[in-house]
Assembly symmetry: C2
Amino acid sequence: MSFEVRFLPEGKRCRIREGTSLMSAAQLCGVDLAAICGGKGYCGKCLIEIVDGKVSPPTEQEKKRITGERDKNYRLACQAYVKGEVTVRVPDQSRVGKQRLVIMGKEPMIELKCNVEKIFLELEPPTLNDPSADDERLLGKLSEMGYRGLKIDAHVARELPRVFREGGWKVTAVVTGRGEVTALEKGDTTAKKYGLAVDVGTTKLAAFIVDLNDGSIVYADGIMNPQIRFGEDVITRINYASQGIEKLEEVRSAVLEGVNQLIGSGTASVEIDRNEIYEAVVVGNTAMHHLIFGIDVKSLGLAPYAAGMGRAFDAKARDVGIGINRSGNVHFLPNVAGFVGADAIADILASKLHEKERLTLLMDVGTNTEVMLGDKNGIWACSTASGPAFEGAHIRCGMRAASGAIEKVWIDDEDLRVSYKTIDDKKPRGICGSGMIDAVAEMLKAGLIDTSGRILERGGVRDGEGGKEFVLVGKEETETGKEDLVITQDDIREIQKAKAAIYAGYMTLVREGGFDRNSLSEVVIAGAFGNYIDPRSARTIGMIPEIPLDRISFTGNTAGSGARLCLKSVEMRTEAQLVASKIKYIELAAKPIFEEEYVNAMYIPNSRLEEFPETAGVIKAPRVVRRYVRR
Amino acid sequence: MSFEVRFLPEGKRCRIREGTSLMSAAQLCGVDLAAICGGKGYCGKCLIEIVDGKVSPPTEQEKKRITGERDKNYRLACQAYVKGEVTVRVPDQSRVGKQRLVIMGKEPMIELKCNVEKIFLELEPPTLNDPSADDERLLGKLSEMGYRGLKIDAHVARELPRVFREGGWKVTAVVTGRGEVTALEKGDTTAKKYGLAVDVGTTKLAAFIVDLNDGSIVYADGIMNPQIRFGEDVITRINYASQGIEKLEEVRSAVLEGVNQLIGSGTASVEIDRNEIYEAVVVGNTAMHHLIFGIDVKSLGLAPYAAGMGRAFDAKARDVGIGINRSGNVHFLPNVAGFVGADAIADILASKLHEKERLTLLMDVGTNTEVMLGDKNGIWACSTASGPAFEGAHIRCGMRAASGAIEKVWIDDEDLRVSYKTIDDKKPRGICGSGMIDAVAEMLKAGLIDTSGRILERGGVRDGEGGKEFVLVGKEETETGKEDLVITQDDIREIQKAKAAIYAGYMTLVREGGFDRNSLSEVVIAGAFGNYIDPRSARTIGMIPEIPLDRISFTGNTAGSGARLCLKSVEMRTEAQLVASKIKYIELAAKPIFEEEYVNAMYIPNSRLEEFPETAGVIKAPRVVRRYVRR
């Protein structure tokens, strides 16, 4: 039995089998709907309104999550199952939406040394006395010019005779460093040579079209990773993709669709043909790397978290499914281990961590945060599940860094008055990651919480359903005008867990690597939303070590920068492989030190306040000792 | 507007657009129907009966072709167009039918040196302290065993983690000589390693499954090349495929379908999985080579007949479309030039022409005949369009070498009584190639024709519609009992043209290469139907030079043998490339010598009777001089 399900306000309709969840229906229908917990019913972000029709009765999960709005037929899409024709309205706040993304990142200047060469050739046509085959002519001429022992791609071989004759024996060959002719074009097309760099983030995709003749970026854009509909965090997606080859294919297709969409808009806006993109370089954390290529990820989700593919890897675009020239090469940067993937290598290349004279901490903050510590003498790295709290997930009034999100917060430590700034200066709809970091730092400084993170009984603090909560913005000021924007005790705990994971990762590297933390010279924060974090707040809450503010830098999306570097230079690829092979990877799951440091770092800024002397001097928060156990 | 077309006796039905020819309808419907001239209306072989329904009125072509049976609603399928619902009966004689095919050929013994190795590996599983990636484990272990610098095929990469874990870290890797891991299997599967050799003939496909562990042939079979529905000769097919990429794809799909059908029945009968076939070697003449791979063939059909791809070529099975292991390698043997293709190279390897101490003539007789002349010091080659006359086409009562075909003919030179033998000893239905060669030789010896091929007024000769004709079998003896089986003046001309093309090819090589024809030591006749030709008759009609019968040998399908040799040994592939690069190719279209020799060879056996002293001594035919002009 199947029924029509209609989604408002889009008006999209699909026939859906009875017993399917409205979450799955939305996915099938292509309707944008948040699925932070991956459809388990605990994040409460997929709130929808049943306008009309039959669905299954509310579950216990829903009764817990949906409070004020239960009377209005609000349901969680992942908990409501189709029982007949249904019309559903998806409120704006339940959509993934257009997020403010950091696409660009710092990138050093390098000399162009492309893997792809375009060579214009003028050939002699065959005659009855010299009827030798077209491939002989092509390879013979190229050999004369010093390109020896080349192979010809299958698709190029098929078109050889046509291109030669239509081009009047004047053609341009595309030759890769791997010794293959991967394209053949009529006439002299050497002026048009493009490459694609792709950064596959857990949350966002960034794509760059680079003119390989001069190295300039001709197009850059980012969109949300469409895989988000299979869960916002990496583990949820791995679990989904591990259910079978079709599920893996679904997750893979989703991200490829996103990349190909970017290629489509990019080529259209630059007015080039996608066949003129002859190579792509792809980076991402290990899970994203595996999921875009379609490598079985089951083992990535289970200890010892071994990757399927670690080394750098080249494949034909047609075998990958990326919509550049089908015979073009797609280069995947190497993964390190666990979740420290090709994106971390790209970060290192772009930030030159491996060339630093002095000890530097590099982190790429995201749903997973890669933490790298070292200098030219060696790099230690780990990956830590900082979770999506910085992206507004698991936070009562959290939201992504989209229009109307509170991104900056100040609290007067005398009268406790709150000031804030929203993205696009719209009326506030919720709080994004940088806003949460600010809020916690300010609450600490103002003495609204103690160093254990407990909310204290002071002005603006009230008893909520789940314990104490601090009212950041009264409902009269908000966009909807219906609910206060609050910071709950649970919200503070989420931020504590996220920042503790990062700091404990750093400290584990310090101790495992035998570093002197006082010698730390620089902190480099990369990542899509890193640019908007207030470095002082990040330091205040103990997310990063306390070093002078002028030695903390935000470099943006350096994963994308590293991908571009490797697109522009094969020497950078060699360097990438070298860096990858030299990194000392620490699997945190195997380290009691990490547990210990995590518990210390659950305090704000840390139970070892002596590591944060400046912060210690400015906070009004009572210093307490509690025993945290890692959850 | 579309209508239902029904084909009897199969009862197959299709909806066909108005104005489509019944020939195309049969192709669309998958009904077996001869199309020797490619639908041009001049061969008259696609005779069908309109049982019921509306088709276009008879054309002038048809009126000329269909004589005795016009009253019975007989039409040529290629000339009748659908105008409403139609029911058609396809008579047996209009079907391509099951032909007797020579699949096997002579093959020298060689040492196995496969391009594919299977290596059993026992690996250490990852641990938290050694979480390195699966590819590191695989490539590391293989490197220890001496297999260095390997790449991993994209599809293998995707399955690495699953195969490792399901196999309990005991796996078998398939490694090719090109340095790639192309398959990975659970457990120890080294005992199962198969290869496929394919000979793509213009008329037939032959496929062989070879056990690569011992070199034995475990399966051999042949079927008609399904491309026949696009025309029986190479040029007709090239013209069809040259009309556009979709037409090329149609022709390509047709032959792939045939090959994959053979793989299907082969793997089923041997009880192996098609994924256990790790490599294929393909041979065929240049056109067949191009058409199975999908290379643009337009230029092959026009002077100077340049091939698209000449060199040996490797591609992934998935890129070729051959249904073995999708990551397996498909090796195409090199083409020489013009229509002298990979099959000729295979013939040379199998017959060891390139190692002969004494001058040898090797020819692969088919719709195109490749003529190769030489010894260990050098080989000259040409291709000559001998046409489909030897396969029963363009012959009034001609048919393929199928059941009921007259394959041997004797004529008493005193009383002119005819004796004959049919295939399967059935009542005669028609005359196949070897029967025609016999008939012409016997008619010459008995003085029924003169040396110019003109039918003389003697017993059994009568005036037919198109001139004189000799009654070979009276209708009362035939299968249908309706028509005499005759040999017409035009039939003799067709045989003259075919054999003249071959002999003139040989003589052109003799003269271009500066050979002494008296030093010719051996004649080797390869080809699918070569086995059944009477060497004496072939010599009598001047198709081959007159040398002692014991120095004429028939080697069968040596193109297939050569393909198997290259499947079993990479050294043979090197040899193939070497042979190909050394062959001196003569493009006959550019040679006045060929024209001259062709005219001489139009005589039976030849206008230079001194080259055929033995034949000259036994023939009763009057010796005449006429002036032939090549048509």
